[in-house]
Symmetry: C2
Subunit: 236 residues, 2 copies
């Protein structure tokens, strides 16, 4: 009999795990001894933090990251096929959202393996619900282009789509380029378009604020090196 593939959430760098991970999810995570992770060191650190039931050295880790070759990913599921329950863990938040986790889940479905998602924090969804933007129609599009001209064209396209389809547009940027992205947003978008800027989500200094482009122009925050999420909506 094959095992299950559990999608294990981890915290977003919080002090208090009990704020972001349900009790039974912690209990299940502590019991597993097979994991597919992005980085072994941070995975070990998380398992120590939640006081895993195993000796850390007995836990078997396989690596899945952006360097993994597609032909090697199927072999990560060997332990599941042999009957072990395996957990997939990302660096932060939920696996399979804005990380390579989805690749192994796709192959699990092809093999008929049961995939079980668990509840935990996601900066994408937390920013979205707290932004006041349309949550009945939204898109997360990942990173925008780096080159200024292409970035501006993409922002213009996203703003148009948010207006025409009433679809909120979420995106991220490498933290050291946040200020350049914000400058582009302020120069391209209409003054009545609403922009939510969210950073340090679920931390004590959490910042989630929605204003019009016009209002952000008057008071522009410094976002340098802050892990940020942006949400745009030119519609209602």
């Amino acid at each position: 009999m094959t095992g299950n593939l559990y999608l294990i959430p981890v915290d977003l760098g919080n002090d208090s795990i009990d704020e972001v991970i349900p009790q039974k999810v912690l209990e299940l995570t502590r019991k597993l001894d097979y994991f597919i992770v992005e980085d072994i060191r941070t995975a070990r650190r998380y398992l120590s933090k939640i006081k895993t039931g195993h000796c850390i050295d007995d836990i078997r880790f396989s690596i899945l990251n952006e360097h993994s070759k597609s032909e090697d990913i199927a072999s990560l599921l060997k332990s599941v096929v042999e009957g072990h329950d395996v957990g997939v863990m990302s660096e932060a938040g939920l696996p399979g959202l804005a990380d390579p986790g989805a690749d192994v889940v796709r192959i699990a479905h092809e093999k008929g393996i049961r995939v079980i998602p668990l509840v935990g924090p996601s900066s994408i969804f937390m920013a979205l619900i707290a932004s006041g933007m349309n949550g009945q129609n939204f898109a997360f599009v990942g990173y925008l282009p780096v080159k200024p001209k292409e970035r501006e064209q993409r922002i213009w396209m996203l703003e148009s789509r948010s207006l025409n389809e009433r679809q909120s547009q979420l995106f991220i940027e490498a933290p050291y380029r946040n200020n350049q992205l914000l400058t582009s947003l302020l120069s391209v978008c209409r003054k009545n378009t609403r922009l939510c800027i969210a950073y340090n989500i679920s931390h004590e200094d959490e910042f989630i604020v929605t204003k019009t482009i016009g209002a952000w122009k008057k008071q522009t925050p410094d976002l340098h090196k802050k892990p940020c999420l942006f949400i745009l909506n030119a519609g209602c």
Copy 2:
């Protein structure tokens, strides 16, 4: 000093609250005595289930649902402005996602009220991560049109977008129309397009399965009256 507006998650009809709501989120919910809710009866039932610290009759509920007039929504924030912490609760899962909660959050931002999202279950992102579909670029578009011709055109548009932009497309349907929607999907989409069908998420009989349209045609499930989420991806 104004209070905070907390976005309070509730379970998805689970037996075990500890599987889906973190301990500290439960503690905070039990302490609140002001709520903005979709339906008072289900809100009371949830608060009884988690053993609120207050006498249920002392808790003040305001209603925000699809019948609320936009001019009345600002008045729902009166208690926050007066200094009380207020919780927004949906019928299931996270408020502000696929429900009217976003309207009151939008106005809270206009008034400079701090909005704090809490961690809990959401069938949308649980289905997404467990589907194996692209989680680096995805859209949730709510309900599709009811009329067959319009629905088919919309499906065709969503399939094209998933192919051209590699954007996974998530949508829902009224449970009694699921089978009609599935019939349309099987007739419109290419045979290699992947479709995830997800229902009863976080329940014991949870079903989250991704197959190609060709494979679903050979073995078509009965989805009548099951609360379902569909995810389409014609790309990789």
